[in-house]
């Protein structure tokens, strides 16, 4: 896109006019309330064992979620674009539905499936297996909720990719796997990177489904967003906002990295 030159102040001022109350002020409020008790209180909250656990646990869950969905999402996008089969369109729509589904519904349906009284959970319970109210349940919920992000980052690249490269690879005697590894995967790098960051960020902030399936036990299954909610409900607004500020900074750094990477890639292209 061509960069507009000349009078920039008017459109920029207009942008700020609505961005300030809509986006910027809520962010500022998080930091204002986080710091209301002073730096000492802020650090005291962050070094509390519950907070340390919640932050580490959230990041770990997000890493696992992103790691699994990078593989599953890419594979799904690959099959959906490169193969033609009955029900492909329906499946394409289905895999993007989790975005629109209320998170609470995701949580309850997982409970009714995997919980101790659920359809599958009932069979697992006598074996001593209980995925719900455990880290496994949280990962299941996050995999479901973030499934579409990887696909939507990778699919446009796969669709735009000209078949000629692949065909060339085949004529040179490469198999499907070799072609994927040396031709398709390098092209997907940008998509994989942004997809996994999006997945990571959404998992880090996930609340609605997590509160249903986690049991919300401190030092066991309490993620950072659940900690924030519990503290806010209990009236500890500074503690809630201190953790929220940390999450906001992590997300900022992530998306800043995403921006930098996509920019350098675009320049190279």
């Amino acid at each position: 896109m061509r960069v507009q030159r000349g009078k920039t102040w008017l459109p920029v001022a207009l942008l700020f006019l609505f961005l300030v109350p809509l986006l910027i002020m809520p962010f500022v409020a998080v930091f204002v309330f986080a710091g209301r008790g002073g730096l000492g209180a802020f650090l005291e909250v962050l070094t509390h064992p519950d907070v340390q656990f919640a932050l580490r646990f959230s990041i770990l869950i997000a890493l696992i979620t992103a790691g699994v969905n990078v593989v599953l999402g890419t594979y799904t996008a690959y099959v959906l674009t490169k193969y033609r089969f009955r029900g492909r369109e329906a499946l394409t729509i289905l895999v993007s539905l989790p975005v629109a589904m209320p998170r609470v519904v995701v949580g309850t349906s997982l409970l009714l499936l995997w919980g101790p009284i659920g359809l599958i959970g009932r069979l697992l319970d006598p074996l001593g297996l209980q995925p719900m109210f455990a880290p496994a349940g949280i990962v299941l919920a996050h995999l479901f909720v973030t499934f579409p992000y990887m696909i939507s980052s990778v699919r446009p690249v796969l669709e735009e990719m000209e078949g000629t490269y692949e065909e060339a690879a085949y004529t040179m005697g490469a198999g499907r796997w070799k072609t994927f590894l040396h031709v398709i995967l390098p092209a997907l790098r940008g998509g994989l990177f942004s997809g996994s960051l999006l997945t990571f960020a959404h998992s880090l902030g996930e609340f609605g489904a997590t509160i249903m399936v986690s049991g919300n036990l401190r030092l066991r299954t309490q993620t950072a967003p659940l900690y924030i909610f519990a503290q806010f409900e209990a009236g500890n607004i500074e503690a809630a906002n201190a953790v929220a500020a940390v999450l906001a900074v992590i997300s900022f750094v992530l998306f800043f990295g995403l921006l930098r990477v996509t920019r350098t890639r675009r320049r190279e292209a």
């Binding site: 580490r56 770990l60 101790p116 109210f133 690249v157 990719m161 401190r218 409900e233 292209a269």
Partner: protein
Amino acid sequence: MGVDEPAPRRRSCLRLGRGARLLNWPLIAKRAALAVVTLALLSYVVWPWLPGLGGPQVRTVVVYGFSILGEAMNEDVFPAFELLWRQQTGERVEFILSVGASGTITNLMILGVPAEVAILSLELDAWRLVDAGVIPGPSWQELPHGGVLNRTPFIMFARPGNPKGIRSFADLAAPGVGVVHPDPLTSGGAQWAVVAAYGAALRETGDPELAHAQLLGVWQNVVAQASSARAARTQFETGFGDVLITYEQEALRDLARGRLNVELVYPRGTILSEHPVVVLERNIRPGNREVVRAFVEFLWSEEAQRMFVAHGFRSVYEELNVENPHFGYIEDGFVIADFGGWQRAKEEIVDGIWRDRVLAEVGR
């Protein structure tokens, strides 16, 4: 993007051609720094889960409690018992408490959360555990004091100076009063509050119609319904409404520290809530039976009951209640047994009057 690939290979060729050097030192340094930072962050994150590094394994007991219980348990009762257990057995035990609205935590237990002990806001939720088959029968009734751990009366919080002049539940029905009330669907405290407002009028007038009118008047003025008593208080503190109906205990902690920024209103008559302890036998982890039994016994010890008094709960041992000078005077204090117990009160008052009539009349 994506059409002119494969990019990486071409990029390296370009660089060779332009810079004519094989090793790009600044780039390598940057990548190495990035890798070190990433590795450091990663090890920080996974540290507690690394085998053998996560600290010594301690026995843990999982307790679920209703919303206002957190401070009393985490600050005093658990540490005291952990110390006692260590002195008696030499073993470390750690309690993990999850607090939430009584109805919410009950639903979670029905769905299977691994709670070993639950402290609920009202016996009704304990009966729901029986109905769902989580516990075989009303086993809490065999505990001391019929399972009742402590009590607290239902009172009102008004804004400083009480600008709306609220003195009784009847005043809540006045036009222009905004009432913050927890949601009876999930909150135990909310069901106590319904019985408090209805029961106070019934005992004063003896007329069920007048009592119904009082409850209706209150509910016509409800401006916010939070999921739990604690959440309702947070709502009130963030500026919602003119008056909050809640547990007296909620105020006493702040009152004792001189930090209370609301005015307490004690109605002439109100209910004293009773909070049952439920042991979920089927959830008790192997080897925890002994410590759970000892803990439940400890809850009714004088030591623990004194802690509850210090945190604003009224003890089941009447003589301990003089120790908290902040307990307010209630002329006509009543309990749920005066209405035939919770099962009957639920059917007749919460469902029969509040849900079926009052809710319909206020059009919610």
